[in-house]
Amino acid sequence: MWLVLGCLGADAADSTVVKAQYDAITKEYDHNTRRRETAVRAKPDEVVAKIVALAEQHPKDPATEEALLWLQERFSRMKGMEKAGALLASHFPVSKEYADLVAAHHEAQQNYFTETRQAKNGDEQIAAWEKFQGTGKAFVELARKHPRHPAALRSLVFVTQRFHQLVNNELVDMLGRDFIDRPQLAAVCPVLAYSVSSRAEVFLRAVLARSPHREVKGQAALTLGQLLLHEVNLTALSSADAKHLESIYGREAVAQVRARDAAHARAEGEKFLELAAGEYADVEFWSGTVGGRAKAELFELRELAVGKVAPEIEGEDVDGVKFKLSDYRGKVVVIDFWGDW
């Protein structure tokens, strides 16, 4: 009995150890990227070499599939990546399909930049943009073809990060149906804050209720707050602005979102921001925290709303001369946050 347990334990530990070795490389790299710590971040070619070496030692381990895909997304055209591609092709064919799409996407992006630069007029620019957006649809197609496959999750996440207008009800429903417990949803949630999909709220509520990962729940709570308040703004859009949105997301999607009860959405949104600012305050969000972001949203909602006395602004002009907003009381004032870019 002891012997059997010992063997099982060793097997399980082995796979966990492999995953931990990959994680040590990938998580640190992503963390430093997010925090913009480029000085301490490992060099890409070193990262590629390390992961390929590990993959060659453990070619069939599921963690190898994940790590090779992680590489593919970041460094698909880097020297040394042919080996990563070959390993994927022989052991993980569906993931290889996905990896090829990523490589094709990177090439299409280069072409898009070139075409935009060389475009003679606005129509040519729009045509280039639409052609590039088409590459995103191939990812959705792969996800449809291989439901529940890790590469399907990767594909859907990829689309959410790069093709906002393809984030629709179908995509959100696939994520909710097959991948509700996955840690990758931490990256998906923030994208939904300004989405136009009546299913986004359903998805985020499900994530908040069912994800086993606290960091994912934190993102979901914050995003729910932002999304609901964004939808409140959409209900008040002028019809010209609504038409513009329809041209991007489709008439039905816009109509569904605009039909909601604004007062109720606002109250709910505020509730989720409070949850994010309390329970999930310390969860990482870009270079800050979920709590910081949620508090800023609540401040805008409560203190920067139409009808409120504007908070004081005190500061210096470009020559170091101090002045404040209240110096201008008694005048109609336009405050313009601007930059020359």
Binding site: V306, K308, V332, F337
Partner: protein, 99 residues
């Protein structure tokens, strides 16, 4: 945006009106653009990038972001551009005359 703002400031010269900027450029760049674009209105210099203290407190996520305040300092409009901005300012100036 600069031409429209220039014409707004010019049109309302002498009226109880002020356009105030909160600028996120590095100082040198701000000096250059003020000279080049003939920017006569005042801006707070917000630390040289988009994460400055004023923009952060005002939860600004996109640039430009515009607020219109009445003469009592109350926020009355958020986000109007171009003609909508002109209309908003004219409305508040008219209200002020009636007060």
């Amino acid at each position: 945006m600069y031409p429209h703002e220039r014409s707004l400031v010019k049109r309302l010269a002498g009226k109880p009106f002020a356009l105030l900027g909160v600028n996120s450029d590095p100082k040198e760049r701000l000096r250059q653009v003020m000279k080049k674009e003939n920017i006569t209105w005042r801006s707070w210099w917000d630390g040289g990038d988009t994460g400055g203290p004023i923009a952060t407190r005002w939860n600004v996520q996109g640039w430009p972001t515009v607020y219109v305040l009445d003469h009592k300092g109350v926020i009355r409009f958020k986000g109007p551009r171009e003609e909508a901005l002109d209309k908003a300012v004219d409305q508040l100036l008219a209200e002020m005359r009636q007060d």
